[in-house]
């Protein structure tokens, strides 16, 4: 199952809200990746029922401003602060399914985002030790 072009653009906005640029100098944001295309790839790799869940999550997050802020906008139509408010509200929703679906999107967003070139290194603060072919002590001594 794959995402439509519209859903991809919604997914991109959702992931850029969850993992924004400029929040911390140590961590680049999801702007660095095409979250929509990557999520589309994930949807094609996972079982259909999971892809359906991801798709539902994209719709919920996109249309949530109507129910959370009572504003007739999609998530992408809001400013950064309002977007974040909406996503946080969904992650702490009293409705278990809404909470879990948003968490599912966040989880895959995290997997996609950290897998992007350079992001892991920025977060961890160094190259993978095994790739360097040396142990930690040697790394620090180098």
């Amino acid at each position: 199952m794959s995402l439509t072009n519209l859903e991809r653009s919604w997914a991109r906005a959702a992931l850029a809200t969850m993992f924004p640029s400029g929040a911390d100098p140590r961590v680049p944001g999801a702007d660095a990746i095409d979250g929509g295309a990557s999520l589309d790839e994930v949807c094609r790799a996972v079982p259909a029922r999971v892809a359906l869940g991801i798709r539902a999550a994209v719709w919920i997050v996109t249309l949530a401003p109507v129910f959370v802020l009572f504003r007739l906008r999609t998530l992408a139509g809001l400013d950064a602060a309002a977007r974040e408010k909406v996503v946080l509200a969904l992650l702490s929703s009293r409705n278990y399914f809404v909470r879990q679906l948003t968490l599912l999107l966040k989880a895959f967003g995290a997997l996609i985002f950290v897998a992007a070139p350079g992001v892991r290194r920025s977060i961890v603060g160094r190259e993978p030790l095994v790739r360097l072919g040396r142990k930690e002590g040697a790394y620090h001594a180098a």
């Binding site: 993992f19 994930v42 966040k106 030790l129």
Partner: protein
Amino acid sequence: MQREDENLPEGSVVDGAEIARDVDESFDFVVIGTGAAGAVAAHRLAELGHGVAMVDEEPYVKTRDFGHDVLSAFRTLMRDAATQAIEGRSFIPLLQGRCVGGSTVVNSAIAWRIPDDVTDDWSERFGLAGVLDGESLAPHFDALERDLHVEDVHAESLGRNNGEFIEALRRRGIEHHPMRRYAPSCEGSGRCLQGCPSGAKRGMNVSYVPWALRLGARLYASCRVARARVEGGRANAVEATAKSGKRVVLRARRGVVVAASTIQTPNLLRRSGLRARALGKHFQAHPGIGVAGVFDRPIQMDFGTTQGAETAQFRKSDGFKVETISMPPELLAARMPGAGTELMRKLGEYPNIAVWGLQIRSEAEGVVKTGFGGRDKVVYSLGERDMVKARKALAFVATLMLEQGAREIWPGVFGAPSVMRSMDDARALENGPADPRAYGFIATHLFGAARMGSDPRATVVGLDFQTHEARGLYVVDSSIFPTNLGVNPQHSIMAVARLAASRIGERAAAAA
């Protein structure tokens, strides 16, 4: 150094994606599954001189092909790209390997022998004395430990996540120890969950599978088993479909050995025509939760054994075990509180974050069913007593982290503060929500669903590892365990499989 999964004997691995015509071959035994149980059983049968075929629905991913990131590991090594979930009162992610080697490719290779209180219980309540008791299993544990060089985690590969945990327990005077593992030359890459990049972890993919192949066994990878063929009350073949679409029939002169795991075995037996009332029932697990803490000093979870230290002091008294679990940033990000600016700041703290976890010996039982479209479905909900154990364990881990100097902790409990800094808050977790939906449980250790016992009305597999309903159809994985263990099960699964294969193989040789 040459890796064990390279330079395998010519023709020993048949890749189902490349099978160009229907296959019909004969062996003494056909073993379904290549995880902890299947690989060990196949190797033991081959060692006893039998002709063995192993069949696995997934490909043989070599160490050289393991990716660096979790997403690619999930997609290539985990069942359903790690999106399986137990359904019940809450959704509990269910992690299983999906490659030759099974979950041993993506777990931490922890070696715990079945505790005596468990085998005593099995003897008393299920009549397994002389079958699966401490004395019978001991030589098999010994052999496995010799073969795989089981050792305590070395100080130089321990890393700080494990080191801080040990220090915290030492201060409180609580029993603790480094894990015993099958990873004698672990480099501490912290990547047990993504497939060990150096091959130091002795998963089945780099141990018993290649060893069995070198003894003459053959592996049919990427071949999905439809059923064991049972004719005249006897299993005599395995029918599978190769990834290429071709039909694969593997005839078994002496028996079919099922080791497809607790989740897949019951449905495979159903597809093979078994109808035992107990089939699929009594599923058990060890649900676990991780707690993250931010320290003012570097922890660097990217270095050190993924799971390197533990305490089992509370296993019997309170029904839980506590251990470390180093998480890569992408997994931790999914568990971190919030989203947006707050989440990114927290991610920036990654080098200073530690994660310790708990697993409970739950009492709840679930059911393994066949779901829509033939998929494997597990229905299971934690009970009230399980939640008491979980909350107590959570409060223990949370207070331990704060005592060790964590500036804040993230317990991940819906309805409780997402960030805690005080001991009072941490202690209050013991009285947290009783609803399992408030917690982020994960299930990795799975048991039951094709229980062993002498009563065909209450069990599926007899004391000779043969199903009550079909002769020559053996089950040797953790689906036969009558209960869960309260400790990490891989070692026990392997020992039971080795014992079973020894008995099955010796009996077959004597009858020949």
